[in-house]
């Protein structure tokens, strides 16, 4: 179920980068807090609402989703700010010329952390219910529930990674339109799920957006077709050199 990782073929090796960057647990925690806040707000609003009215409940659900997305992006921005501050602090302490940790790596890890946690939360409950002798369908629901959930979760995890990369880069370059676009795309993907159980209408656009974001993130991170070819044929000198850097 868990995503196959599209190795980010940027000059910074993703695999090695994983070892020298902070662990994705911190951004995961940030995501968790944003979820907690948004669910608190949703819970309170449900309690004070009219439980009988289905339309109102549906409205509240949409409101909850939108709020959650906005809070997640806010926390992503908050994490970015925190990292900037930490980096500047380290810079003054270590008296080096260059940044000890690359913002790109941090972006990637932040996206990974967010995606990880989001994926875990989406899938754990469903996995728990699927353990047991039964499957979906006794009330006539579609058989493809579990499969679609799995694919959707995978898409969201990857999307978080790409959003992380694009978002941080846009914040560095003060490209606020790009930040806004990331938020809008996130909202779009989340709202696509309201079309369930029409799974085709949900999954196909989600994967189209995934592909688009993937391409955008690739170019943002400094990739190009030439890099890609070199990497795939193992002729990328920068990559090979960076592998031999003494520890």
């Amino acid at each position: 179920l868990l995503a196959c990782f599209l190795a980010d073929p940027a000059p910074v090796s993703a695999g090695l980068g994983f070892l020298t960057t902070p662990d994705p647990g911190v951004p995961a925690f940030f995501w968790l807090v944003s979820l907690l806040l948004s669910s608190l707000v949703w819970f309170i609003s449900v309690q004070i609402s009219n439980k009988e009215s289905a339309a109102q409940q549906k409205g509240l659900l949409i409101f909850g989703v939108v709020l959650s997305v906005l809070l997640q992006e806010t926390f992503r921005f908050g994490y970015y700010k925190l990292l900037k501050k930490a980096n500047e602090g380290l810079l003054t302490l270590s008296q080096e010329e260059t940044m000890p940790i690359s913002i790109r790596q941090l972006a990637y890890v932040s996206g990974l952390g967010f995606g990880f946690m989001s994926g875990a939360f989406s899938v754990v409950n469903i996995l728990a219910d699927s353990a047991g002798p039964g499957t979906i369908g006794i009330h006539g629901d579609s058989q493809h529930y579990f499969l679609s959930s799995a694919f959707m979760t995978m898409a969201i995890i990857l999307l978080h990674m790409f959003w992380g990369v694009v978002f941080f880069d846009a914040c560095e370059k003060r490209c606020w339109w790009a930040v806004g676009l990331v938020v809008i795309v996130h909202l779009l993907v989340s709202c696509l799920t309201f079309q369930n159980p029409d799974y085709t209408a949900t999954l196909v656009p989600a994967y189209v957006i995934l592909f688009g974001m993937g391409v955008w993130a690739f170019y943002t991170a400094g990739g190009s077709l030439r890099n890609l070819k070199l990497c795939l044929t193992c002729k990328d000198k920068d990559f090979l050199l960076s592998n031999h850097r003494p520890r």
Binding site: D129, P133, G134, T135, I136, G137, I138, D141
Partner: protein, 644 residues
Amino acid sequence: MIFFTCLCSDGGGFSSILSSFSKLFFIAGVSSNSVGNKIYINLNETFPCVRLLNATHQIGCQSSFAGDVGVVHLLESEENLDWVLGSGPNPPYMVILESTLFTRPIMMKLKHGSQRVAGVVVVEPTTNPPDGFSPHTSCPNENTGVYSESYGPSYAHCNVTVWNPLGTGLSYEEFDFPIFSMKDSNDTEVLRRCYREHNRAVNGSTPQYPLCAMQLFSHMSAVRDTATCMRRSEIPFSLTPEEVCDPLGDENVWASTKPLNNTAKGHKEGESVVIAAAKMDSRSFFFDVAPGADGTATGLVALLAAANALRNATAELNRTILYTFFHGETFDYIGSSRMVYDMENNQFALDLDNVHSILEVGQVALGSNSRLWLHSDPVSRRNSSVNVEKLASNLHLAAAGLNISLEEPNVTQPLPPSSLQRFLRARPIPGVVIENHQASFTNKYYQSIFDNAESLQLNYSPNLTAEEQLEFVTDAAKNLTEVATAVARGLYLQAGGHPAGMNAVQADSRLVRPMLYTFLVRGKNSWSEQLRGQSSDGDVSSFSSEDRPTNFYIGVHQQMSEPRFMVQTILANLTGTIVNVTKENCQKQKEDEEDVRNKHLYYYQWVQGPLRPNSTERDSFCVRSGVRRFAAKSPAFVLREYTS
């Protein structure tokens, strides 16, 4: 013989219907969340069949530890069984039976095909089957009565009369899969629809997955027989001792017309007692369902009403009448065997030498012909010292002038299954059992779920409120009042009352009506509420008999059973006197601060009393009566001999 019941730690099974391995499911008892609700449907009103053990066998049903899962199959006819047992491609199957198909031949075939059968669910019909149905044996309690190779061998094992000819004996078979009963409700409709849409083989084709399936949980811890189970429950030196089974039992209730010192056990000099007996339990194939209308409630109500009729006449009697209500008679005479054992071992307020005669009230629902029969034991009658004729003639005299006739059967036949048999095992005592059948039972639903208000034709018009139903005069109530009057007068004469004073003894139909309603229609109503009390040793809140008839099943000895609680409450109110005692003293069993004597003679109960008009307050009071209880658990548990 002792009967055990085994309950798993959560006190019985519960059913879930589910669709399994990429099948669709029904389930019960799972937490409700939206994904779970898309997969499982909980079934609510279901009753399992449980494991019971006796000295030599285990009977009943059980499931595996994690529940049994099977593909749903609605059985259409006996020929359709072949799909389940042979040709169906997706075993194991969960067989859904309409109640007309719940017969011995079908169940035996399912029992022997148990690899392919995951369980059985019986759909309870809304009306009783007209041809009768009885899962009990055809010769109830045949090994624990008085007739055996040494006593009346020609009468043993129902050689002369088969008492329960409709009995299939299913309750006494052992099944390796769970069997549940389900009410015919919306969930059943969903089940049928699910089967038709997914599981039905059309024109010989194989049904494709996903299929509709069911899961039933009714794991039982007890196996083999009583001795094995008791040994396992008593493993010493265990850090976590585990009871894998519990003895069936509860308490018998008795009351006497004259106060007897209950603390002084053993023979009472000069006391000659007439025992008026009735049983207060019943059973069915399924656990905790025992409506027992004709089989139990009629006799019980008749004796309670008779006790009330005699409450003012006790001064004229020279013998004491002991009203005794036995529990557990269905399961090899648990209550009466215990009483006889206690009497023989000086553990009871009286002993067998004090017993003059016994009158037992059995099944007394009157049909169209209002005839009742007096059964007696032919073997002991031959003994000239056993004077059954006097008792019989007193009863004939008692019934004169009433709308019922009491006759003796004109063939020599043994006693039907009755508590009197256990007394006769100890010594010959003159005794008569009053029943509504001359030879075989007229009760077509003996010890089954169908022995209910409908079988007694206790019909209340549906537009009556509960209050009005309580007061409504049904034919059954009228007939039972006549029977109670006859019983009361018969007891009066047998206890030495003068025939001239007999007509003053009359059962009150205003008591019979609500009693029948309470036992057979709705246990919790305004009449029963006002009689209920709080005794110092009883917890009222644990007595739950709400919107349904009384459950007459005896249950395990640690749990109070409904009928015993109700009988003790009703008897106290119907035979006792109201005394002016404070609530605190009443609950401490004394009349005032210095009283220490009265608790040996009397039983005090603080009764809630009637509601004050336009208020929720009640006028409570203290009732003093001679109602007592004593353990009704088989003597085998006292002796720790489980193989007899």
